[in-house]
């Protein structure tokens, strides 16, 4: 990915540079932090026939799993951004969420054992595939893994607050940007500057707004000095004011 970096170009942190191997976890691994303290390294996982498989690259638009197909694994994003979406019977697409490096996709498929949505790569994406029967077995043996799984499930349920209720567009967008910022920061990326991989149509769909509204509101936030947007690069310039704007959605 970075083989042809010209002299003088400064490498930005990329989780993919820190690739795990047979004995080490990737630094972004969703489970590495709980497995290691519990004394389970990757060799032990393999002994348990636990399938942790690195998959990718997926290109923008490629599907990681399909809505309706049988549930077999959950996926942790290693690099890139994955969108989940449901296609309604009318053919209309509904964006459910965006998953950043270190985050897990597919948790909502555990019951009824079918994926309720598509997972689509928004840019070049690498994932870790955790075979679910094997992970469930592991969770039964290692309480910390089970705990981590519950945490992930709980976080997944809590993520929909921005869509509930009748909040004005600027509050929703402020909340959306703040949430992304916090999730990037949690993975060691900058909290105030990040790349917006998702298209404005996807953002609009996710927040149940018109695409024009997304742009109009972002332009207004920019004019007010709260954010700055250059192409896909976003800078949050006034976190306090953004939080103030978004507070009703972020109890």
């Amino acid at each position: 990915m970075t083989a042809s970096t010209p002299a003088g170009k400064i490498l930005l942190p990329s989780p993919i540079l820190d690739d795990g191997d047979a004995l080490h976890f990737c630094s972004t691994c969703a489970f590495g932090s709980v497995c290691l303290p519990a004394g389970v390294d990757k060799r032990a996982l393999q002994d348990l026939h636990m399938l942790v498989e690195h998959v990718g690259p997926y290109r923008a638009g490629d599907v990681v799993f399909h809505q309706g197909s049988p549930f077999s694994a959950i996926f942790a994003v290693r690099s890139g951004v994955v969108k989940t979406r449901r296609v309604e019977e009318t053919g209309r697409e509904q964006v459910l969420g965006f998953h950043l490096p270190g985050e897990v996709v597919g948790l909502n498929a555990i019951h009824p054992a079918r994926y309720p949505c598509d997972a689509v790569a928004l840019d070049t994406v690498y994932v870790c595939r955790f075979s679910f029967p094997a992970l469930a077995t592991l969770a039964g043996k290692i309480p910390d893994v089970q705990q981590r799984l519950f945490e992930l499930l709980s976080a997944d349920i809590g993520r929909v607050t921005q869509l509930v209720g009748d909040h004005p567009a600027d509050e929703r967008l402020a909340a959306f940007l703040l949430e992304l910022s916090e999730r990037f920061a949690a993975r060691g990326f900058s909290a105030s500057r990040f790349h917006l991989t998702m298209s404005r149509v996807d953002i609009a769909n996710y927040l149940r707004l018109a695409a024009e509204t997304v742009s109009r509101v972002l332009r207004r936030l920019q004019e007010q000095g709260l954010i700055r947007i250059d192409g896909r690069e976003v800078e949050l310039r006034d976190l306090a004011q953004l939080r103030e704007l978004a507070h009703t959605l972020r109890a």
Partner: protein
């Protein structure tokens, strides 16, 4: 942000009189290639719609016809007295508009519109009205006062009624070709145009409320003399346009067929060319015009000067602009588009342009996707051309690079220019000196990666002066 006042040094300028691109784009048009086609263009358009705040739009419409050939011309144009040819062309242009406009999100407003040629006023009033009506229907025109709707006019085939008709369609800028009022020069270049014809158009435009009037002059034409050009400059200053472009004539008869009709015997020598430029700078500066850069002068209260002062000036295909951060859509034969990090150009002759439209395709013939390195260098060249200075720490942060490592070779190449007093290199900035301001092109060439790789003789550019 106010660049150093230009200082004219003939000896220095003569030494650096080399061929090079004008950097209305980087990479320059000779780098475009035919591998970049319709599919690639559509991908870039989609990506530009997907930005959280999509850029506003700028339209360029090319009218390739001229009623009479000017012998100095290097533009892509078709000489004809047959006005019906416009109808045939417009039919294809409408189909291109219908095909291109829906690719762009409807809430992206057109902030800038420019008609160039050829001769845009080859179209009669009815044709022009229909065309503007079609553009307004297929695109969302900005209603803001800052919108720039400009057109190039040939005063020999135009009148006050036409200028007022254009104003009704929203045009607020006009650019009028003069080149030189000297009768001997006009005869030599086959362009006889009186001061009165020119004044009529400019006065009509002023009365109709146009915000900016611009005129074009050319130095280095056959039979030009300092005395004759000096008199032209006096007439031009009396006409009081807001902007004056003074282009250097580049005699490239092997590339531009029209120029083969010029009698090269009467071309001014290098010393005269320099004297012509020196006279231009002296007179226009004395008359209160500010040298913006490259070929362009503007009154101190013009938008261009204000943009330069506030750091928002941009370079584009029309020279300099206050709306350079738009996505540019080129419509018509040979027009260039600049969407996101791509450049593309339509077919450069009528037969290919018509064939593409008739086959249901976009008429794109060539283009390129900018590499990351292209983006970095384009930004750098833009900063030097527009503001005469580059702030290194901000540039390093913007592009995540170590300037002195990334541009080690270029900084070495610049040393000659530093020694000649054209450029200063300080820890946190590169600055263009007063002496260097007339040699922007040479300074930019030091950073042009495509020039370094290409053997110069293959691609012909005009000279830096």
């Amino acid at each position: 942000m106010n660049p150093a006042l230009p200082q004219f040094d003939p000896a220095l300028i003569a030494r650096y009189d080399v061929a090079g691109p004008r950097y209305t784009s980087y990479p320059a048009a000779p780098q475009f290639h035919s591998d970049f086609g319709e599919a690639a263009l559509r991908t870039f358009v989609q990506a530009s719609n997907d930005d959280p705040i999509p850029r506003a739009l700028s339209l360029y419409v090319h009218v390739p016809f001229c009623l009479s050939p000017c012998f100095y011309c290097g533009c892509t144009r078709v000489i004809t007295r047959d006005r019906s040819k416009a109808g045939v062309y417009l039919e294809r242009l409408y189909r291109e508009i219908e095909r291109v406009a829906p690719l762009f999100a409807r809430d992206r407003v057109v902030e800038q519109l420019h008609f160039g040629g050829g001769t845009p006023n080859f179209l009669d009033a009815a044709q022009m009205s229909d065309l503007m009506e079609s553009l307004g229907r297929h695109f969302s025109f900005s209603r803001a006062a800052e919108r720039e709707f400009g057109i190039e006019l040939d005063p020999r085939f135009c009148d006050g009624d036409y200028v007022r008709m254009l104003a009704q369609h929203g045009f607020n800028r006009v650019s009028v070709g003069i080149q030189d009022f000297d009768p001997a020069v006009q005869a030599a270049v086959n362009r006889i145009q009186s001061v009165e014809q020119t004044r009529e158009i400019l006065q009509a435009a002023r009365a109709a409320g146009y915000r900016s009037l611009s005129v074009d002059l050319i130095y280095g034409l056959p039979k030009q003399s300092v005395a004759g050009f000096s008199a032209t400059l006096d007439r031009v200053i009396e006409l009081a346009p807001d902007r004056i472009a003074t282009y250097a004539y580049a005699h490239l008869p092997e590339r531009f067929k029209a120029q083969r009709q010029l009698d090269a015997e009467y071309l001014p020598d290098a010393a005269t060319r320099l004297a012509l430029l020196a006279t231009t700078v002296d007179k226009l500066t004395a008359a209160g015009y500010r040298y913006v850069g490259m070929d362009h002068f503007a009154k101190a209260d013009d938008d261009l000067v204000r943009a330069q002062d506030s750091g928002t000036l941009q370079r584009n295909f029309q020279g300099y602009s206050t709306h350079g951060d738009c996505d540019l859509i080129g419509l018509g034969m040979s027009s260039i588009s600049h969407i996101g990090r791509s450049f593309s150009q339509n077919a450069r002759d009528l037969i290919s342009y018509y064939a593409a439209i008739d086959a249901g395709r976009l008429p794109i013939a060539r283009g390129l996707a900018m590499s990351e390195d292209d983006v970095i260098r384009a930004d750098l060249i833009q900063a030097l051309m527009c503001h005469g200075t580059l702030r290194i720490p901000e540039f390093e942060q913007r592009h995540a690079l170590d300037f002195r490592v990334y541009f080690a070779n270029e900084l070495e190449r610049l040393q000659t220019l530093v020694a000649d007093g054209l450029v200063t290199i300080e820890p946190d900035r590169i600055g263009i000196t007063a002496r260097g301001r007339f040699l922007l092109r040479v300074i930019a060439m030091c950073f042009d990666a495509h020039l370094a790789r290409n053997a110069m003789p293959e691609v012909r550019y005009s000279r830096a002066l």
